[in-house]
C-alpha cells in the first residue's frame, strides 16, 4: 500500500496556477525522484506535502490518513520530514544542538520544562548517531553558520532525518556540490533513507538515476510521466521538456 499519496492536488497563487492537478502514489520504502524544469513546481509540491501552505484543492494522504490542511508541525509529528532547497538550519547553534533540537519531539519530550535536556540519555545518543552518520563528529560544537557549504547541506539532511521520520523529502540536496561532495552526499542519502520512503528533487541526473527506484517528471505543475529511470530516459517528451540532449 502506498505510504504517500497525492490526489488531484492543485495550488494557485492569485491568478497563477502553479500545481495543476497532481496525482502521485509512492509505495512505502520506495526512493522516488521528482524532476522537471525550473519553476515547474517541485518545491511548491514539497511545500504542499509538508504543510508549509495548504493546497487550493485536492488532498495529501500519509499512510492512509489525510494530512493536507494541517500545520507543518503536526505533519512532521506524523512522520514526514523535509529538507529545503536553500539551506535552512539553526545558524547560531552548534551542530550538536541543531540535531538535538530535531530529535526532541520524536522522543516524546514535547514542551518539557522540568528536566534538563542534557540529562536525556536517548536524545543525546540519537543526536550522536546522526552526527556520526553525516560525518560531522569533528564539528560537533561548531556553530552551524560557520560550516562549509557542503557541510551545511549535510547538516540540513541530518536535521531532516534526525527525528526518524518514515517519509523523507529532500529538495536538491546536492545542488552546488562538486562531483566529489555529490558522491559523498548520494552515499549519505542512501544510508540514511535505508528502509524509508524517499521523495527527492534533483537536477543532477547522475544523482537521480543513481538513486531513484522510480521517477516522476513535473512540467508546469503537471506530472507528464512516471516510471523507472530507464523508461524516463527513453521518454521523448522528457528529453524535449527537460533533459535536452545531455542524457543521451
Amino acid at each position: 500500500m502506498s505510504d504517500l499519496e497525492l490526489r488531484a492536488l492543485r495550488k494557485s497563487f492569485g491568478s497563477a496556477d502553479i500545481i495543476r492537478g497532481v496525482d502521485l502514489a509512492v509505495p512505502a520504502g520506495e526512493r522516488h525522484a521528482v524532476i522537471g524544469p525550473n519553476g515547474a513546481g517541485k518545491s511548491t509540491l514539497f511545500n504542499l506535502i509538508s504543510g508549509a501552505f495548504p493546497p487550493t484543492s485536492g488532498e495529501v494522504m500519509l499512510g492512509g490518513e489525510r494530512i493536507s490542511g494541517r500545520p507543518p508541525y503536526e505533519i512532521n509529528r506524523r512522520g514526514l520530514s523535509r529538507s529545503f532547497q536553500v539551506t535552512n538550519i539553526f545558524h547560531n547553534m552548534s551542530v550538536y544542538e541543531n540535531l538535538r533540537c530535531a530529535v526532541l519531539w520524536s522522543l516524546g519530550y514535547r514542551y518539557t520544562l522540568w528536566r534538563s535536556a542534557a540529562a536525556l540519555k536517548d536524545a543525546a545518543e540519537r543526536s550522536r548517531e546522526v552526527l556520526h552518520l553525516i560525518g560531522l563528529d569533528h564539528a560537533r560544537e561548531t556553530p552551524a553558520g560557520l560550516l562549509s557549504y557542503a557541510d551545511q547541506r549535510a547538516l540540513e539532511i541530518g536535521v531532516t532525518i534526525a527525528g526518524g521520520a518514515r517519509v523523507i523529502l529532500l529538495d536538491e540536496p546536492t545542488a552546488g556540490m562538486s562531483r566529489a561532495e555529490t558522491d559523498r552526499a548520494v552515499d549519505l542519502i542512501r544510508r540514511v533513507t535505508e528502509g524509508r520512503t524517499l521523495l527527492i528533487v534533483e537536477h543532477d541526473m547522475g544523482v537521480v538515476f543513481g538513486l531513484a527506484d522510480r521517477i516522476s517528471v513535473l512540467v508546469y505543475g503537471e506530472v507528464i510521466a512516471t516510471g523507472t529511470p530507464a523508461e524516463i530516459r527513453g521518454d521523448p517528451r522528457v528529453r524535449e521538456a527537460y533533459l535536452g540532449e545531455e542524457a543521451a
Partner: protein
C-alpha cells in the same frame, strides 16, 4: 584587466586564501575550478571586499583592494554571488531596475531583452522575487548584474540548481555576454560547461592555485583532474 597578486584572506583565525595570483584579460572568459570549500567563493568575495583582502588587486589600473564595494562596482566590475541574493520583497522587475547604476545612462542591456531571454522571469515580472523558484532566482541575479553593464563579471556557481536544459541556456548566455565584449570570471562546478566556454581555466586547491592553462591542457592533464577535481 583584473590582476590579483599574492592575495590572502581569513575568516577569523582560519587562513582561507594563501597567496593567490590570478589574471583576467579584457573580453576573456576564465573559469575557476575546484572542490567545495577550497576558497573559490572567498576569492571573489575578497575582490569585492566582502571578506577583508590582504594583497594587491588591480582592476582597469585602479588598486581596488579595500575600496567600498559600490566604488568597485562603479568601476565596471560586476559580481553575482553564490546562493542567489535576490531582494525578496521587491518584484522581479524592481530587482532588475536596481541593477541599473544610473537610470539616466542605461547600458546596452535592456530590461525587456532580459525578460525575453528568460520567459520564466517574464511570467513572474511583477511577483515578489522571494517566491521565485530556485532556478528563477539564479537567472534573476545574473540578469540583475548584467543590467549595470559591467566590463568584467564574476559569476559564482551560476548553474547551481538549474535544470539541464537551462544549464545549457545559461552556458549560451555567458558565451553571449562574452561575445558582447564583457570579460568573465566563472566559478563553476560543472566541468562540461566551464571547459566548453572558457579561454583559460584555473584550478584551486586548499587556498592556492594548483593549475593554470587552457581547457585543452586541463583535459589532457589527468593528474590534476584526478587530484583536485574528481574523487
Amino acid at each position: 584587466m583584473l590582476e590579483i597578486r599574492d592575495l590572502h584572506a581569513y575568516y577569523g583565525k582560519s587562513h582561507i586564501l594563501q597567496g593567490v595570483d590570478l589574471d583576467v584579460g579584457a573580453g576573456e572568459v576564465v573559469s575557476l575550478l575546484g572542490r567545495n570549500g577550497v576558497g573559490r567563493s572567498t576569492l571573489v568575495k575578497a575582490v569585492m571586499g566582502e571578506v577583508p583582502p590582504r594583497g594587491a588587486i588591480r582592476f582597469k589600473g585602479h588598486w581596488i583592494a579595500g575600496l567600498p564595494n559600490h566604488r568597485i562596482a562603479r568601476l565596471g566590475l560586476g559580481y553575482v554571488p553564490e546562493h542567489r541574493d535576490v531582494f525578496p520583497y521587491l518584484t522581479v522587475r524592481q530587482n532588475l531596475q536596481l541593477g541599473v547604476k544610473n537610470p539616466r545612462r542605461p547600458g546596452k542591456w535592456r530590461l525587456e531583452q532580459m525578460l525575453d531571454m528568460f520567459p520564466n522571469l517574464a511570467r513572474r515580472a511583477d511577483s515578489p522575487a522571494g517566491v521565485l523558484s530556485g532556478g528563477e532566482k539564479q537567472m534573476l541575479t545574473i540578469c540583475r548584474t548584467l543590467m549595470g553593464d559591467p566590463d568584467l563579471m564574476m559569476i559564482d556557481e551560476p548553474t547551481e540548481g538549474l535544470a539541464p536544459l537551462i544549464v545549457r541556456q545559461v552556458g549560451d548566455l555567458i558565451a553571449e555576454i562574452a561575445r558582447a565584449g564583457v570579460a568573465i570570471l566563472l566559478v563553476e562546478q560543472k566541468l562540461s560547461i566551464a571547459l566548453d566556454i572558457s579561454h583559460r581555466v584555473y584550478v584551486m586547491g586548499h587556498g592556492r592555485i594548483v593549475f593554470e592553462g587552457t581547457p585543452a591542457e586541463l583535459r589532457a592533464n589527468d593528474g590534476v583532474r584526478r587530484e583536485w577535481l574528481e574523487v
